[in-house]
Symmetry: C2
Subunit: 183 residues, 2 copies
């Protein structure tokens, strides 16, 4: 450990719920508060670097999430505030990542942010056109359509992106970070 406090903020939710957007806004909010050495690990970006060739079966999804979790653990251990945004649909795997990070960064070094948005609204937004492809059968194993999403039981933060502004969402996260003494 480097002595400084690292932590991981883990965004989970359906495709189109707003995870990447809120990860980016949280990053900006942290920078505005002088926390400058933040790393953002976006699910899609990480897939190209760590998980090229993996698909979307349960096993491949788990492997992908474990790899992102392992990198979060490394960064947290070395004092880097880390933000991860990945669908991460399975509860057990998110629990495994939490454990991995807390082993390295100490208890309370991991917070789970559930980006809760109704499926209908995510599908209406369909920012990448993927729901359409999932409905037509062009994409298999699509979370929310043909694959399960297991909501967290006890996330530290719940955002409702269908009925609160991004500013409100970020404020909720910042409040929790302050409560945890991270900022």
């Amino acid at each position: 450990m480097s002595g400084k406090n690292g932590f991981t903020i883990w965004f989970t939710g359906l495709p189109g719920a707003g995870k990447s957007t809120l990860a980016g806004l949280t990053h900006e909010a942290l920078q505005a508060r002088g926390v400058i050495n933040v790393e953002v690990l976006d699910g899609d970006v990480v897939r190209t670097h760590l998980s090229k060739g993996l698909g979307y079966s349960k096993e491949d999804r788990d492997t992908n999430i474990r790899r992102i979790g392992w990198v979060c653990r490394l960064l947290t251990k070395h004092g880097v505030p880390t933000i991860a945004a990945a669908i991460s649909p399975y509860r057990d795997l998110r629990g495994e990542v939490r454990k991995m990070v807390e082993e390295a960064g100490g208890s309370g070094s991991f917070i789970e942010v559930y980006v809760n948005c109704p499926l209908e609204e995510c599908e209406r937004r369909d920012p990448k056109g993927l729901y359409r492809k999932a409905r037509s059968g062009e994409i298999k194993h699509f979370t929310g359509v043909s694959d399960a999403y297991e909501p967290p039981y006890a996330p530290e933060v719940v955002l409702h992106t269908d009925r609160e502004s991004p500013e409100e969402s970020v404020r909720k996260i910042i409040t929790v970070l302050k409560k945890f003494g991270w900022i």
Copy 2:
């Protein structure tokens, strides 16, 4: 970037040349000099976390090295002194990793340590019994036996583990780290 200086020390060489041993001793030497937040990425360990399922074809080796390089880049970017030990047999891939790290950590943030030990000596040591298995054909694509190792043209450090003591080898590395102003 976090403001602190990060760097990557990349050990390359044949299996059994002494990469992991010297990576560990370099880690200890850095700690003894007050550089405490070092991360050591050992090829075998990283394979289990980032590259399970990959084999030893040129393509799979390249993917594995790119992933280790990507993690080195992240850590270096955030000011973490990072030590990687991996056979990394191909010159072009090591060059790619150097470029990746230097993009994030600045020019001179990457040093390549060539752990040079004659094949005969590595094979005599055979610490994991792998040369024996390679010679018998039980292992395919084994670097030095049935797969190429391309020595670096201009590594920052060359160690000769067949004819210098580990202490001498570490001293060479420390000298270069000082020259680069890293310690």
